[in-house]
Amino acid sequence: MNGTIEAPTIEYALLAPLLVVFGAAIVGVLVEAFAPRYLRSAIHLPLTLLSLAGAFALAVWQALKGVPTKPAAMGAVAVDGPALFIWGTILILAFVSVLLIKDEEHFVGSAAAVPGSAEEEQALIERAAHTEVYPLLMFAVGGMLLFPAANDLLVAFVALEVMSLPLYLLCGLARRRRLLSQEAAVKYFLLGAFSSAFFLYGTALLYGFAGSVELARINLALGTVGGQDTLLYIGAALLGVGLLFKIGAAPFQAWKPDVYQGSPTPVTALMASGTLVAAFGALLRVFWVGLGGLDWDWRPVLYGVAILTMVVGAILAITQTDIKRMLAYSSVAHGGFLLIGVIATGHTQAENTSALSGLLFYLVAYGFTTVGAFAVVTMVRDAGGEAWHLSRWAGLGKRSPLLAGVFAFFLLAFAGIPLTSGFFGKYAIFQAAVDNGATPLVIIGVVASAVAAFFYVRVIVLMFFSDPAADGPSVVLPSRGTAAVVGVAALATVVLGVYPQPVLDLAHTAAQSLFVR
């Protein structure tokens, strides 16, 4: 404490992907500020896509260059195997989602205008568009990248907010059904803020316990510090609340259906894929790096949460009548399956590797499929915009067999039918779980997925086995972007379902260099 503060060392090379994304976001803001309206989207789109691609390239280069073994930026950010893998995943998914978003059709002309009011008309007439969407999205993505890489709880908190705040806004920007959209935004915002408060308080308590917010230090303290267990336990629990909220685990899943339903579908797609991946990355890091020594305590707790999540997700989805809500509940259920993977992390290197790689693979597989599914949802429209109500999907198989076929394929992947990516995802996680003696959990998971299969199958029945309604929705000719999204997603689902080996290897190597402590 001699008053001199030495400048922190920052490994810019390691953080390059992050910096690129955030940089692009800021540039985007500047574009909003200075570029003329008619130019903006023309600038934004390439900017966004290129920066995402660039970031991805950098991440790959990083991985090729050899995964570093000590955290960067004074231990604030850990760019290790899993982090890089997750980065790659998120960047691709984000890229794909951008292709969806590019279809401005989804977003309101001027969010400030009251629905049905004159100025909205006006906005529509002059084809106003919220090009802010792009910078917002970039910020969100940046947060997603930072969140799983955050090596201390403060950074984690900041990343959490950076990721969430733009999303809150994006939720409210739907062009159609604006009431729902805005409601979704409010709900997401209030609940998000609420839960992040819990996260923060948990951080505080852990800080009080360990005297530091660095995960590694906390883990160290677990062994040494004594007598303050209550502090520790409550802190860990509240921290857990924040994280579990983001992945939508029961009993913190309530927001998911509402938000997924209300938000513009492309945003939903991003949340359902990117946010989930990021949140799981963070969850793993916190629980594995920060509370690794405490696993005897958190494993049983997560056990319960996982079971609850799978059951609630599967059961509630059965009676849904809104396609997006149904997908939301299905993503809750999948969150439960993923939690099995978290629980399956064990003590030996091998166990962790298998569990971790399984988890990572599942995230990739699920991410692609879910983006694809939502992309299909954007294409099925009638007068009132996207046709969400399932009854409107009746007989789609006759109207446009190809699209219905692809969607059915995605659903089968969700259900985990062999020769789809979903199957291997489930398999990898179940395998790991059985290896680490979590067989009962697996059995419950299996039963849950049997129940879940029901509502996926139900949609297929609607699309193929029942006759189309007279005024049924029409399938819009997809914009090039959307078509590409669906194509990529379908391709990924097939390839990962038939020959998952390469991705598995990738995940394996990523998982081998465990989270750096």
């Binding site: 409550i234 860990a236 509240l238 509402d258 009676t319």
Partner: protein, 632 residues
Amino acid sequence: MEPAEIIQHSGGAIGAAWLMIALPLVGAAVLLLGGRRTDKFGHLLGVLMAVASFVVAALSFAQLLGFAPGERRRGIELYEFIPGLAKVGLLVDPLSISFCLLITFVGSLIHIYSIGYMAHDPNRRRFFAYLNLFVAAMLLLVLADNYVALFVGWEGVGLASYLLIGFWQHKPSAATAAKKAFIVNRVGDFGLLLGIFTIFATFHTLAFSDVLGNASKASSGTLTAIGLLLLVGACGKSAQLPLQSWLLDAMEGPTPVSALIHAATMVTAGVYLIVRSGPIFQGAETAQLVVTIVGVATLLAGAIIGTAKDDIKKALAGSTMSQIGYMVLAAGVGPVGYAFAIAHLITHGFFKADMFLGAGSVMHAMNDEVDMRKYGALRKVMPLTFWTFLIGYLAIIGFPLLSGYFTKDGIIEVAMEHNAILGWLAVIGAGITGFYMSRLVFMTFFGAKRWEPTAHPHESPAVMTVPLIVLSIGAIVLGWFLIMGNRFMTFLAPAVGAPEEMPAFHPFSVPGLATLALVAIGAAYAWMKYGRAEVPAVAPRGSFLTTFARRDLYGDALNEALFMRPGQWLTRLAVFFDNRGVDGLVNGLAAGIGGTSGRLRRVQTGFVRSYALSIFLGAAVLAGAWLVVGNL
């Protein structure tokens, strides 16, 4: 004296014995697959095949006689049927060859007869196809050298019988009768199958040579079990109590069928089975006793039923039952009885076929009227039919020097030796036979005309009468020929064994005379009641006993009460249980989950504050749980 060893044989007519089966089989195949194309010559082909296989049988017989008695059991390897379970081969020995001769000879005659009888039936071709099929199956049954092949033939004749009983399938009664026959037979097969399983479990082989040769080594308990199970099979096929009920309904079939299958050949398969499996029964006292009892019971039951039937064919069917009862009785007695059983079987084959065809000829004349009360005084109109029928009649009641006299009395004799009670019961049976057969003859050929106005009886064409004549000749001479000097017993001995000293034939024994007396009485009573007296056009209500007999001793009623109704009830119950119970459980589970979901989703009220509450409580629970777990 024990049965002789089986000698593997090849060459000669016996070597080609399989042709006996193959020829009619080919005939059937051609006629069935050929379809309408073969309509023109179908019947001729059928006859040809039957006759051809008779020729083969005769030649084989001749060749067999060429061997010394001890070498008259010839086995012919055919091919491996079920690897590890059974090879298929033929066994040509005195027993099987006698059957072959009977089947092919009577069979051929009936084929010929059918040309005339079925002349006007559009489906005559199919009829001949089925007849050929039957002949083939029946020959396989008797020629098989193991139990599996025997069973194949066994079921084959069952099938043929099913097809032929139901030949006029558009008549519901015929269809039902056919189905009934098959199912009741299946009950018998159930026993036979179990018998075969037991045999295999005991000996790990099903070949007659191995099984029967080593039967003595098996425990008497096992043998009894096998014996009884085989008996069940025999009862089914030979319409013995308690599986007799199908035979009377089987008369729905065309008359030649009744003559060939339900009188001369198929129904005697049970007797064949028992005789063939002799060594097993000889090792099982109890089984033998049961066999004899069944025989006697059936012979009485059949006779009683015969007394009350007005349907000429049913009356004859009753007598068939009863006559087979005699055979079974004899077969149950053991080696002494075997010869008589088979001899009676053969003679019966002749005279009963003769009478059935005669009845057919009558029906043919009276445009398919079967009610004897509408007959009468036909002897003038159709003399040939009458005389041949008369011979058959005299043969069956055992009129001295006709074949029935020798064979049936022979059976009564041995039965008497074996067990007096059974013997006397058999005698009584003979008496009743005398009554009901006379009744039948008087009602049909004597007395006043009671014809329907539309009826214009006439003698049948030669193609039908010639077989009658041939058969009646057989009915006259065969008995004497077979029994005198124990000719048949000695011939059969190598196949089935024989008692040490041959029984001498003495015509004037007490039972013999008693039989004659009773038969005479029965005939006389019949004369008074149906010959002299007027026969009412409609049957009088009659005493309880009469109804008892008319209703087939309530056999059907019993089956219905015991099996059919409970069965139907059980079926309904099972179906209900399956839909409501098993399937209900499955659907109920699904519905349950759905319901839970429906209720649970109400928790999602849509109020953000309730969500916040769930988070809040969730956090509390989480922390609590963690504390609990942590402090464990």
